[in-house]
Each structure stands twice: as C-alpha cells, then as structure tokens.
Amino acid sequence: MFKAVGELNLRRFFIQRMIMGLLMENEETTSANQPLVEMRAITKTFQNVIANNCVDLSVNRGEIHALLGENGAGKSTLMNVLYGLYAPDSGEIYLNGEKIIMKSPADAIAKGIGMIHQEFMLIPTLSVIENIILCMKSDNALKLDLQKAAKRLVDLSSRFGLDIDPWAKVSQLSVGEQQRVEILKALYRGTNILIMDEPTAVLTPKEVDDLFNVLKEIVKEGNSVIFISHKLGEVLNISDRITVLRNGKKITTVSSKDVSREQLAKMMVGREVFLQYDRPAVSVGKLVLKMSDVCCNNDRGLVALSNISLEVREGEIVGIAGVDGNGQMELAEVIHGLRKVTSGRIEINSVDTTNCSSKFAIEVGLSHIPENRQIRGLVLDFSVAENIALINCEKPPFTKNGIYFDPQNAVRVAEKLKNQYEIKCSNVNSPVKQLSGGNQQKVVLAREIYRQPKLLIAAQPTRGLDIGATEYVQKLLIEKRSENMGILLISSDLDEILAISDRILVIYEGKIMGEAIPGKTSVVDIGLLMAGSKVSEESRGKE
C-alpha cells in the first residue's frame, strides 16, 4: 500500500518534471526568437549636435548585424552607448528582454558586451597572453598563472580558427594579428555580443577574408557581432541584416539578401551616388616628378623606402595603392623635403630637389595635401584666413613690400576661396579648429590649389570625409588633372585609387610592387600586390 502510494508519487513527480522540462524547453525556444540586444529610442546629444535621434536597434542571437552609415551618421555614438561609454539622454537598452543600465564599459563587459575600437588597446611591449589577462581577476590572488591562461587561450583560438602564439610580443605582430588579439581578448572575457568599429580599415584584402571567416565561426555558437562600416561591399558580403543610419536617425533595417548595393548607397547618402567619374582624355605632358632609386629611413631609423623609382607627368593621376604604414607617409615627406633621403635622386619640374628644404620644394611648384591635416596641414589655433596665408606668407598678396603682413589681404583671399570651394564657416576669422573635418580639408585643398602648382601630392585626401565631401574632392582632383596638373594620389582606399587614377603603383614595405592600370588589371591582382605576395618568398628566403 505504502509502496504503491510511493510509486504513484514518484510517477507523478516524474510527469511533473517532464512537463516542466517541456515548458522550460518551450521557454527557451521563445527566448531564441527574442532579440539578444534591443536598443529602444536611443537619443544622445553633444552640446548642440544630435548624434542619435530616437534610434532603435535589435540584434538577434547568432547574427552578424551591420551598422552602415557615413562618417558622422552616429554609428560609433550608438555603439559607445551600448558599450557603456556614453549614457544616453533618453531611451532604453534590453539584454535578453531584461532592461539594463550601464554606467561604464566595465558593466558592459560583465554583461558580455565587448567592443573593439579602431585604435587597438594593446600594450606593445607585453606578450599576447599578458595583454589578454590584463585587468582580469586571477583565481589566485598571489600567483599569476600564465601557463593556465595560455592553455585556455589556445583552446579558444583553435575553436574559432584564430591562429595566434600566446607568447609573441604584441609589437612583433602585424595589424591583422593585433586585431585577432583584440577579438580573443573579448572572447576570453566571455563576450557574446562583439562590437567591431570599422575593423577592415587597416587590413589587406586577404586579412579581411580571414576576419570574416572568424566572425562567421563566432556567430555559429550563438554569439552576435555588430559590425560598423561605411563600405557597402563588405557589409553586403558579411552581414545577415543591415541597419542604416543617416544624420543620427535610423533609416531602416533590411536583410542583406533583399537589398542591392545601389539601394544601400542611396539609403546611406539620401540621394543617388555616382562613384564613377567621367575622365576626359588628356594627353600627358612634361615630367613634373621623377624619383630614381630613392631610399630613406623612418622615425625609428628603420628603412622606410627602398629604391623607389617613379614618374609623374602633367595631366595624369598616379595612384599609390597600399595598406597604411607601408612607406606612404615617408614617400610624401621625402618629396616635400621634410625627410632626408639616404640615397637616390628626386626632381620636381626638372629641378633637383634631393634633400632640399621644404620651402624650396614649394617654390619649385609643389603642393601637398598632407595625410594628417590636423598635424601637418593646418595650424588649428589660427583662423581660416591665417591658414590660407600659411604658405608663402612672406610673399604678395599676403605681405606687401616684403615686410608688411596685411591680414586684410589674407581675409580677402580666404573669402574668395570660401565661396569658390563652398567652405562652411561662420567667418574666415574664426579658428579653423571649429570647422568640421570636411571643411578643414577644403581649406587645405583650397590653399594648395590656389598656388596653381605643377605637382600635387594628395595623401589620403578623402580620409574621414563623408560621401558628399569625398565626391567633391575626387571630382576636383580630376578637374585639376584636366588642367594639366600632375597628381600623385596616395591612398589606402583602393576604390578611390581605382576610380580616379590613370596608373596605379602598389607600395608594400617601402617597395613598389608593380604597376597596374585601372580596368585592365584585376582587383584581385592588385590586392595580392598590396599584401606583398611577390616578395613574401624572397623575404622568407632571407630569414
């Protein structure tokens, strides 16, 4: 009797458990449909600028979600809100359907949200594993068990196909490898929502492919990736869904299967974009730049350029393609006389300018749009007019009789250029640091073209500019080419190089890898040259 009752109870108990289990399973399936993260009506303002205006974003489990928009559209702000760096003015964030409030990135990390910024947060002198466990609590307060941590890291890296040596020093790693360390750091901390801010900007095409494979592995395990970008091609390639932001507002969220490149571009910019330009045929003229076997060192005394020989003629745009940091900056500086060559010869306009002063290069007919406009190109505390007068300040019209510097004349020239180049500033006497990046670049452009140079070096002329300003700058370069200017375009944006150059030279580790003609040489081949595939065997042989 007792036994039977017991058995019955037991049976009842099991049935209950089964039903409960079923119910729980049911619950789990519903939660799988529920978005992992949901941001509702996020608004964030900075002073007078609304960076995010009632933006909604929901990211599903196991999804790569792209956040697409121009520079200044509010992508990074939105992600910094999610990462706890900024507190939103209004709006709510839900994680697994639960409302969360984050006061700092530490809160976000504890909740499984990780972010990889454009600039890596790594300490170069430490090893990979040291960087990864930095700021993490150790199991044993007295002993630092690096071996154990390294073992866990190796497990983790093999699981996601992220090949890395835990004992390598970060300073010895390539940019792509450093990015892997950042990803591993996030995964090691138990991140299941990984935010990546423009991760492909510094990578070669091959490294981009590797990164995409890793991201696919990561989301396979139910994690999510939010991918910030303004490059249409890669967004379509990698993401499941795309949210487009424009001027701080959410335009739409679409599935990447249902949308074309042109539609995306239109959503992003708000109008049709023509990324292809008409380039009138121009017959090339005299040599304006001739470099023969130029070598130079970088700031650390290592070889930056080795045996560079190239020519630029009137009426042509020669593009220098390559991943950042392969000697492009040194190339521009050597031509401008800002850096000494160790051997070789440079001629501008058939005048020997090897190791000349910066002033002499300018006098011979060089203009230079420097890579970093805020450090090289502009004196930020000076007004727009003073920045226009910066070059040739001791010459007319800025200085009369060689002694009287007339600020009124600088203002007059600046007013003219302001109208001609549509520089948006309240007043040409206001400090140039108050201008937006695009308008600062226009100030540099206006000044450099105003001098009517024979040779123009345009280094990363559209970096950090939105599509509208980019289009403007690129059109201007083509226009100046038609007016017989010789242009050396140095850019790490391959699309830009392909769109406007007549010839392309690919630079890798300070060497010219080869020449390509847009439309004739395939992009894949150029990509291979950019990755240094030609010399890789040579250098391996040396080691």
């Binding site: 910066s358 300018i362 006098e363 502009l378 000076f382 001791e394 800025f398 600020p407 309240s426």
Partner: protein, 366 residues
C-alpha cells in the same frame, strides 16, 4: 525639448561672447587672489581693507607715487615683451634675468669706453650694445633648442646663474671702480644718463622707449611675416615646417629677440636709474616679467596693464610696510596667488561657459 542643430546665429554669438568671458574670468582670478591676500593680511592682525587701500594709494595716490610706479613698470614691461615673443614661439624661456644682466654689462662697458660727440647717439649705441649682449645670451638656448632639441627651460635657468656670478666677478675685478670700497663700476658720465621726462621725479625717457617697444611688439607679431611665422611655429611647428618655414631659424630668432629686449631692459635700468653697474640691480625684474607675460596673456595691452599692476604692487608694498607695518613679503604672497589664479582662469572660463549654457537651455526649455 528638441532643439535644432547648430545654426549660424548661435555660432557667431558664441564667438562674440568668448572675449567677454575671457575678460570676466581674468577679473575673477584677480579678485579671488586679492580676497585670499586680504585673508593672509588679516592673519597678521591688520585690517586687510585698510592695508590694500594704503597699498594702492602708495602706488597711485600722488603724482610722485605714480611716477615711481611708472618707473618700475619700465623694465618689467620691456622684459615681459621679450618673454612674450619667446612664449608666442612656444618657448618657455626663464632667462630674462640673466639676459638683463648681460645686456646691462654690455651697455655699461660701452658707455664707459666710448665717448661720442652726440650724447643721444652715444645712448643709442649703448642701448644697441645692451640689445646685442642680451640677444647673444639668448642665442645660446635658442641654438641648442633648434639644433639639439635641448630644453630651453633648463638652459635659461642655468645661464641665469652664470650671468649673476659673471656680474659679481666683473664688479669684484675688471670692471670695479678704481679705488672704490663697494663692488660697483665707475659712474657713467652724466651726459649719457637717460633724461628725466617729469621734473622732480625719477621717471626717465626709458618709459617712452618701453611704450614704443610695446607698439613695435604688436606690429612685429601681427603685421610682419616674421611674427606670423613665429606664431605658426609656436602653435604647430610640424605644420609650419610643412609650410616652408625654417623652424630652427624661427626659434633662434625668437630667442634672440627675447634676449635682446631683456638686454635693453637691463641697459635702461642702468642708464636711467642706477647710472652704474651694481650687484642685484635687476631686483628680480626678470622673474616678475615672466609672471607679467603670462598674466597679460601675451597681448600688448594685457602685458602693459599687468606690468603696471606688478609695479604698483612693488611700489605700494613699501608704503604699506611703513604705514601699516605689514611686511613687504606679503606682496610676494599676493604675486604668488595672482600667478596661481591666472593659471586657473581657464578653469573659471570653462565653468562660466558651462553656466551660460545651462542658463540658455533653461530659458529655452521654458
């Protein structure tokens, strides 16, 4: 709630306000320094309001007092203009004291050795000698900075000691007045003394020279390509280099002009006040000039007002000591507090801007 993005009107209004806010914050800095100074004075058991009133009447109360203040203003103004030139070039020179001494030595030596038919010409030659002496002494840190990147702060501090000891050596030996008991040079001939500009006072023509230099400073910095280049190097030497400016040469020029003006300040102190070379004739003017250049925000008018203010403190503090028995050293406390608060005025400015913004948002919210 939602306000439009920046519009043009807001931007211009904002930049107009900036000058006003700068003035208010400088004023607040001085006010706070005076308040704290008053507190310090009251600790010594003296009514601070009375003390400060005596201090100012001692500096401005009578025409003689005022002439004394202007007399003290003269070397401070010239030396601080010199320092302002180097500061504009982003060079933190501390060398005005030493450069003044070298300038004074060069000028006095010339004055004692040569005798020209025209005294005006002779004074001019001596002042030029003072300029050259200071300029050459300023060229040392300038050259080292331009060629080797050596810190101009340390070099100028060290050179100050060299100048002080050199002066004391010269007055003990080669330049000592024959048969004199004191370590001092021979008296300059009365014909080369700087003429008095107000009878019955000690105020001499050097004050006019100082005012002229203040005006020249404005034109040099804002109306010549040289000044433009010096400012460009000071704000951003990389951009200046890119723009074809010879950065090293600009640094050297700025340091030489800076030293040269300090040298003139030293020469004028000798030819206008002491009429012979003495130990310690600078009375710390070279260091006061440092504070004055900063307090005056490197602006020609600001530097003039700040020199006047510092000179008034010096002159008035003597009266304050006589009348109220407040030690002169209290004035050094006041000067110290002033400098401290001047450096915090950016902080005050930010707070003011913040309050203004809050006020505006409140108004627009209602």
């Amino acid at each position: 709630m939602m306000k439009p993005l920046i519009n043009k009107k807001n931007v211009t209004k904002h930049s107009h306000n900036k000058g006003r806010i700068q003035a208010i914050s400088s004023f607040l800095a001085i006010l706070m320094a005076l308040l704290l100074s008053g507190l310090t004075i009251s600790i010594t058991g003296v009514n601070p309001f009375a003390a400060i009133r005596v201090l100012f009447s001692g500096a401005f109360g009578s025409s003689y007092a005022f002439s004394e203040t202007l007399l003290r203003t003269t070397p401070i103004l010239i030396a601080s203009i010199g320092l302002a030139i180097s500061f504009r070039c982003n060079l933190t020179s501390v060398g005005a004291e030493g450069q003044m001494i070298i300038g004074a030595i060069a000028a006095t030596f010339t004055g004692l050795k040569i005798s020209l038919a025209s005294p005006v010409l002779e004074i001019l030659v001596c002042i030029i000698a003072g300029f050259l002496g200071g300029a050459l002494f300023g060229a040392i840190p300038g050259y080292l900075k331009a060629k080797l990147g050596t810190s101009e702060i340390i070099v100028t501090i060290m050179l100050n000691y060299i100048a002080i000891d050199l002066l004391s050596y010269l007055l003990d030996g080669p330049m000592r007045e024959g048969g004199s008991f004191y370590p001092q040079s021979a008296l300059l001939d009365q014909s080369v003394w700087l003429p008095k500009i107000i009878a019955g006072t000690r105020l001499h023509a050097g004050f006019i020279i100082a005012i002229v230099f203040d005006i020249i400073y404005f034109f040099l910095m804002f109306r010549t390509p040289l000044g433009f280049k010096i400012r460009a190097v000071g704000f951003n030497s990389k951009a200046a280099e890119y723009a074809g400016v010879n950065v090293g040469r600009s640094i050297l020029t700025a340091m030489m002009l800076s030293g040269g003006l300090a040298g003139i300040a030293g020469a004028i102190e000798i030819f206008g006040v002491h009429h012979r070379l003495l130990n310690g004739f600078t009375a710390g003017v070279g260091f006061d000039a440092l504070a004055v250049a900063l307090l005056g925000k490197l602006n020609p008018v600001g530097v003039f007002l700040a020199s006047l203010f510092f000179a008034a403190l010096k002159v008035g503090s003597n009266t304050m000591q006589h009348v109220m028995q407040v030690p002169t050293s209290i004035v050094y406390v006041i000067q110290g507090l002033l400098i401290l608060f001047v450096f915090t005025d950016t902080l005050i400015k930010d707070k003011l801007l913040y309050f203004e913004k809050r006020l505006k948002t409140k108004q627009s919210g209602e």
